[in-house]
Symmetry: C2
């Protein structure tokens, strides 16, 4: 599993001409790094006398970011699995009409899954951005730059996952499905650039 590979090996595999891991796994890792860094800021805020009044907020936030991180780590593999499923479908026999129909169905099913996985990744990344805002505002000033890196990583993860949604819907014939998923994605992206920039500026001011 990718999560068990060393950081250096993962990077080697990412750079190689193998199709996986690719941008989808990188998106999930960026989201997971974003979640981890907000967890770190929370962990370095709880129990500190000067931050006693935000203790409960930080405890609640770290619970959420640790859950998000666990789900994002799962996405690293889910992205590879979805990609492999599409590739396997393209490799199915296409001699008889029945085989052709089965293959076409499997491709469509695979592409839908390969759309829903990055869409779920995008949703998790957006949640990281939203939580990181509160932590950047209230968390321990000494590590607040890590809140800034958190939101930058999650934002890059969100927009990267979005690219993987766009690329896969291109081949899907079920126009209701495509419309629905693109609608969901637009909602996740909405305001995310501005929010990320405003958290970045907030962090710069608190440095």
């Amino acid at each position: 599993m990718i999560k068990d590979q060393s950081v250096a090996s993962f990077l080697d595999n990412l750079a190689s001409s193998a199709s996986t891991p690719g941008g989808g796994s990188a998106a999930a890792i960026m989201g997971a790094m974003g979640a981890a860094l907000t967890s770190m800021v929370c962990n370095l805020t709880v129990g500190k006398k000067n931050y006693a009044e935000v203790e409960d907020d930080m405890q609640a936030a770290v619970k959420k970011t640790e859950q998000l991180r666990a789900e994002l780590v799962e996405m690293i593999k889910a992205d590879v699995d979805a990609f492999n499923k599409v590739m396997a479908a393209y490799g199915m026999p296409k001699e008889s009409d029945e085989q052709k129909a089965e293959r076409a169905d499997a491709i469509q099913q695979g592409l839908k899954e390969a759309t829903d996985v990055p869409l779920a990744c995008a949703s998790l990344c957006r949640d990281v951005i939203d939580i990181s805002e509160e932590v950047a505002r209230k968390g321990n000033k000494n590590v607040i730059s890590d809140s800034g890196v958190s939101v930058l990583a999650a934002h890059a993860g969100l927009k990267s996952a979005a690219l993987n949604v766009y690329i896969n819907v291109g081949g899907i014939k079920d126009s209701d499905f495509v419309k629905d998923r693109l609608g969901q994605l637009e909602q996740l992206l909405e305001g995310s650039d501005a929010k990320t920039e405003s958290i970045y500026q907030l962090v710069k001011e608190r440095l």
Copy 2:
């Protein structure tokens, strides 16, 4: 070494209340993922008949991104080392006037190094952005979303590294040094938001 840790362990350590690894190492990893993904697009473009006319450009680009990736991987550890050096300086004895002066010097030296490391990381990330533009324009259309993820990752790495420069110059008394490094940083940041957005749009159009 962090690069030898598994992806999952690295994320656990990032989330923990230990001060390292932190945002500086995450910035370097994002830059390295950006470099790796542009390498991947190059590797999946060279040798393809349809892309014969950009073969030389892709060969040249992957040489650069692989060099940048190697340097960015070194930055993961360099960031931790620089942080530890500052912490060690703060921990030096401060009884006598001589000790106080030695400690103050060591802190200043440490902070300068802890500024120059993320500045170098920012520079490498900017190089990744600049190279990814050409690859996004000319590389294999089938994996072009990976070029988009590449630039998003490198851009998040650049801005994350910038935060680590800002936080460290705050404690440096040598105003010429501070002015010089902030000037270098502003040059690296200049136009990077717009360039990243334009590469993202280019990729979306080529999807």
